[in-house]
Amino acid sequence: MPINTAVLKKVCEAFGPSGHECQVREVILEDLKGCYDDYQVDVLGNLIVHKKGDGPKIMLAGHMDEIGFIVTYIEDEGFIRFSNIGGFDPFMLVSRRVIFANGVQGVIRSERLENFRTELSQSKLYIDIGAPNKEHVEKLVKVGDVAVYSASFYADEYKVMTPALDDRVGCFIMMETLKQLKNPKFDCYFVFTTQEEVGLRGAKTSVYTVDPDYGLAFDVTGAFDTPKALKYSMKMGGGACIKIKDASVICHKAMIDFLTKVAVDNNIKYQYEILDMGGTDTGAIHVHKSGVISGCISVSSRYIHGDAEMCAQSDIEDCINLTVKALETGI
């Protein structure tokens, strides 16, 4: 069954850098109306959606936040200095368009530098919204305001290309799973987490609230199938990724074996994910209390943290199928 790109578009286009996820939360809640038993929102903004089921408690986690920018200082001439929310390479930022919550757009540029290649750093960058001076800028943008990449969502028969695919695609997989789910063999808590990009912080508080027996996160991972890419095995279009490890977690063997068996039994295309870098909510979930048996299903994606993150629609479909079957099979 092809994926519902209209819903994916809506979720990807919602505005939500870390700590400012309320718009994403509203889009998700609206779309999921009638599909859950109850929900709560905690202090850090995590959306915890409960779907009752017969079996052990599982926490599913996908993060709502995206990387972004926060205004730290406005110069008299109207140029906006900013700090990053999440990880960025300053070289990738120059000439990117950004958009603030109120819709105001600007462009990131660098001060003139004698030697751009050696001297460029975050503190040399500024956002220009074209207003003539500080006084005019402050009518539109204030210190503490946040922005994200401004770029459009695009989908054709193969791929999706959009900013914030990381990790709205994870949210989308959870949403579609919840809609299709019949008679789950787990008591399911679908947690749409906050502040993952700055250190898995929403997952830390929501796992405390849910206190699950099992954990399963949904996130993007790298696709290493581009010219001269690092030697990792994940490919775009290679099927749902079952995570074995990244820098934040070594997934539990029981979860890896369980997901693999479900994939094999149901003829769902899958690949294993082994990564030395990166981290995901599983990193916070698996060390909760005396330990939670945890894993992660990832979508192998290209150009992560850029404004044109790309993945294959077939992989998203495989992830949804794997998750639905896993929850309906039981561990």
Partner: protein, 347 residues
């Protein structure tokens, strides 16, 4: 400016407290707070946790500041009676020619270096390596030195509190004894709402005291009090000054360990504006504070980051403007007065 206030800051900054060695600071705070609290306990990591107005209605407010400061420790005593040191959060470039105070007995020493007459041209162009620095305590042999110091003794800057200029003070450890002083003033005042105040240990070595204290305390909102960087020099571009002395307490937006919740930034800004208290934003995403542990504690707790700007942080001669300190106290009080009577945070 009351004499009491400067006396309090002097007492706190002249005292010594490296991470894990905060006893002297704890004792001062305990004495100051006598008769003003419901309970004071010291936990296993050396955090001092104080409660006031327990069981009263209103918003339960958590206050936190760290007791520990940056400094050094004795690693080796050589045959000539000279001490080799390791550092905790101190930039080794600051160390040459400083007077230090070692261990419980506060043995005096100086950090010596080769005189300029003896240096080679290339040595004058770069900072001295930590390995090339030693403390001279006036001993001639290892045995003589061992009579007054031991391996592992903590080493402190010997730098007294001084008032100077226009309401400025110079002291060591303004980061974060200023925060401790703010908390003492609030706890000794006539506030009516329930307060849990955490005087933390081991912040400078990785936010360790608060990691433990956060498990114990259950509050509705924290205010984390710090001394923060002010790089307000003409040679620094305006957007890189972080904070400016005299412009009021600095509110945190984001740092390496926390994204501060907009809703609560707006609340404290409202308290400042309604009371005509100046404030500024901390214009950087760098640094980390104990807020890291509080905001992810339990199911999540809101934290406000509030700091008094200090020049020359982590050095023996940190400088702050007393008016910024006073306005920090005023702002905490204004926040408590404005929101203290509201019901518990919705959850």
């Amino acid at each position: 400016m009351s004499v009491d206030r400067t006396a309090l800051i002097k007492k706190l900054t002249d005292a010594n407290g490296l991470p894990g060695d905060e006893g002297e600071i704890r004792n001062i705070i305990r004495t100051e707070l006598e008769g003003h609290t419901d309970s004071i306990i010291t936990d296993r990591l050396g955090n001092l946790i104080v409660t006031k107005n327990s069981g009263r209605p209103g918003l339960h407010i958590g206050l936190s500041a760290h007791m520990d400061e940056v400094g050094m420790a004795v690693l080796r005593i050589n045959e000539a009676g000279l001490l080799t040191i390791g550092t905790f959060g101190v930039d080794p470039r600051l160390l040459p020619s400083k007077i230090v105070s070692i261990g419980k007995d506060k043995v005096k020493g100086v950090i010596g270096t080769k005189p300029v007459h003896m240096t080679k041209p290339d040595e004058r162009e770069r900072a001295i390596d930590l390995d090339a620095l030693y403390i001279d305590i006036g001993a001639s042999t290892k045995e003589e030195a061992e009579k007054s110091v031991s391996l592992g003794d903590f080493v402190y800057f010997d730098s007294e509190f001084v008032e100077f200029g226009e309401r400025k003070i110079k002291a060591k450890a303004l980061d974060d004894r200023l925060g401790c002083a703010v908390m003492i003033e609030i706890l000794k005042s006539d506030v009516k709402t329930p307060i849990t105040a955490i005087f933390c240990s081991q912040e400078e070595v990785g936010l360790r005291g608060s990691a433990v204290a956060a498990n114990r305390a259950h509050v509705d909102v924290y205010i984390n009090l710090e001394g923060t960087v002010s790089a307000d020099m003409p040679s620094t571009d305006a957007h890189e000054r972080v904070t400016v002395l005299g412009k009021g307490p600095a509110l945190s937006l984001i740092d390496r360990t926390s994204v501060y919740l907009k809703e609560y930034i707006n609340k404290i800004v409202a308290a400042a504006e309604e009371n005509g208290i100046p404030y500024q934003y901390r214009a950087t995403g760098a640094g980390g504070t104990d807020a890291a542990n509080y905001h992810v504690a339990h199911g999540g707790t809101p934290v406000i980051g509030l700091a008094t700007p200090c020049r020359y942080l982590h050095s023996p001669v940190s400088v702050c403007d007393l008016r910024d300190y006073e306005n920090t106290v005023k702002l905490v009080r204004a926040f408590i007065q404005k929101y203290g009577n509201s019901a518990r945070a919705e959850s």
